[in-house]
């Protein structure tokens, strides 16, 4: 009982933290700060005495830094991001991977996660393989990937769902709180790519669909307070319903009735 209450407190604290910041939505060109006291952060620009928003998003003013958190837009790769991509081409020295970003991404043989047969790269990674990979560098000619590191591998089974990359922080939650609850209650393995691609694999199809429902919920309600707790309650209720359905089905089977 105590374990559950402390978890509830944790998620409440997380939500309070968010509500302390003002939720102001801005459009491009709007003045978000005046004077020389503020520094223009991501999504803003200084024009003379004013700092203006450069994109549609959520305004964040902390101490002296002003920035706009995007609420939409294509995925822009950042060094260190973990992303999920699909192999779309194989060259003599590596693989070209689609990570949903404007530029193409390349994984060289030297950065592969296991030994590679240089005469046939497709033995290691083939067309259409899905991989968890990390962004090593972002250059003008493209993005370089690496698969050297913990958790970087190719994925088998399960399913992929795609969300807007700007929603990823919400799906993960503070220190992983949101995604961990979903994993816990549904029993699914979940890997969330910063590029908005999410991989799910659960003990059964129903578990996977349940995890998907929870993620859809988080994505559709980015502004709701106490969302982590709401998701947990929803998941536990649905899990119960599923259990009851399975039990009913087994009863029918026993009674010799058809599905």
């Amino acid at each position: 009982m105590t374990e559950k209450t402390s978890k509830k407190e944790e998620s409440q604290k997380e939500e309070q933290g968010n509500s302390e910041k003002e939720r102001i939505i801005v459009a491009p060109g709007e003045v978000v700060a005046e004077g020389k006291d503020f520094l223009p952060g991501d999504g803003t620009k200084r024009e003379g005495n004013e700092i203006i928003a450069l994109r549609f998003g959520l305004l964040e003013k902390n101490d002296k830094l002003v920035k706009v958190i995007p609420l939409s837009g294509a995925y822009i790769p950042r060094v260190g991001n973990t992303v999920i991509g699909e192999v779309i081409d194989v060259t003599f020295n590596g693989w070209i991977v689609d990570i949903g970003s404007p530029q193409l991404a390349f994984l060289p043989i030297t950065e592969c996660f296991k030994y590679v047969n240089k005469r046939d790269l497709t033995e290691t990674l083939d067309f259409h393989d899905i991989i968890v990979t990390k962004i090593k560098s972002v250059k003008s000619r493209g993005v370089d990937l690496t698969m050297k590191g913990r958790g970087l591998k190719d994925l088998q089974g399960g399913m992929l769902i795609r969300v807007n990359p700007t929603r990823v922080p919400r799906v993960i939650g503070r220190a992983g709180s949101m995604v961990n609850i979903i994993k816990e209650v549904t029993g699914c393995s979940i890997i969330v790519g910063q590029n908005g691609v999410i991989w799910l694999k659960g003990p059964s199809v129903d578990h996977e669909l349940l995890a998907k429902e929870a993620i859809d919920m988080v994505v559709e309600k980015p502004f709701t307070e106490g969302l982590t707790e709401k998701v947990r309650v929803f998941l536990e209720k649905r899990k119960k319903e599923l259990k009851q359905n399975v039990e009913k089905k087994e009863e029918k089977k026993d009674k010799g009735e058809e599905k």
Binding site: E86, G157, M159, L160, I161
Partner: protein
């Protein structure tokens, strides 16, 4: 990123248990919304939404010359443009085979069922007849464009009015209150095969997972008639499968017709 082979496999596996990502049954349609009269300069127009798929169809009419072998029959011209704005998959440029096939599928359904009674569209025998243009534009493609387009085309034609004629010339922008000469409404149902399961109204991802599909257009007056049928995609179907698909099309087509009739009753006559 398109639908990955991983997800396609998952969709197939789910269907083996009769399940879909959005919780629907394999033969269940998403929410359907129909609106007519959505573009004021058109003789007839309709917007159909099936789930997130949205298609606009407009009817324009003009005076044209008849074919020599049918001096009193009007003409029907159906056109479709797969606009790049509706999906990443559509490219700018001249119509590709998908656009052409879509137009021809809808055309055949309307023509073979004689929904528009072309024989009653003569103006001056051997010289002037009505030409009916039906133009199909997907606005958002989340699967099942064919059924949405066919439904919108029928809705637009059903609520269309003839333009004003003066000295056998169309007065553009002026409309009469007279509708087109119409017969029984055709209903189009496309059945997709994913793995070994039959599915209706697929989402975009489900469409990507399907290899073969069959489009059936029928009328359901006193008897059921098939007016157009087209198998498309890769692979082969057995005789039993074709017969099963026709049965599915008949059952679900009747349901769709009922929903459409209810919509028509609700909306005020033009």
């Amino acid at each position: 990123m398109d639908t990955s082979s991983l997800t396609k496999k998952r969709i197939e596996e789910l269907l083996q248990e009769g399940k879909r990502f959005d919780g629907r049954k394999p033969l269940e349609f998403r929410k359907i919304e129909i609106e007519t009269g959505i573009s004021k300069n058109a003789e007839g127009s309709a917007r159909v939404r099936i789930g997130d798929t949205e298609v606009l169809v407009g009817v324009k009419m003009d005076v044209g010359e008849p074919f020599t072998d049918s001096p009193d029959s009007g003409a029907l011209i159906v056109n479709a443009e797969l606009l790049p704005l509706a999906s990443r998959k559509f490219e700018s440029g001249p119509p590709q085979i998908q656009a052409i096939e879509l137009a021809r599928l809808v055309d055949r359904g309307i023509r073979e069922s004689e929904f528009v009674d072309l024989k009653k569209l003569g103006i001056k025998s051997g010289e002037k007849v009505w030409a009916v243009f039906v133009d199909i534009y997907p606005i958002n493609d989340d699967g099942n464009l064919i059924d949405a387009a066919a439904l919108a085309a029928v809705a637009a034609l059903k609520t269309a009015v003839l333009p004003v004629l003066k000295d056998d010339k169309v007065q553009y922008g002026e409309f009469t209150t007279k509708g087109l000469p119409l017969k029984e409404m055709p209903i189009t149902i496309t059945c997709y095969k994913i793995g070994d399961s039959f599915v209706l109204d697929p989402t975009s991802q489900e469409e990507d997972s399907a290899k073969v599909r069959v489009t059936v257009t029928m009328t359901f007056d006193k008897e059921t008639y098939i007016h157009a049928l087209q198998k498309s995609g890769e692979g082969a179907l057995s005789e039993e499968e074709i017969l099963e698909i026709i049965k599915i099309a008949e059952t679900e087509g009747k349901k769709l017709l009922k929903r459409f009739d209810e919509f028509l009753k609700k909306t005020a006559p033009k």
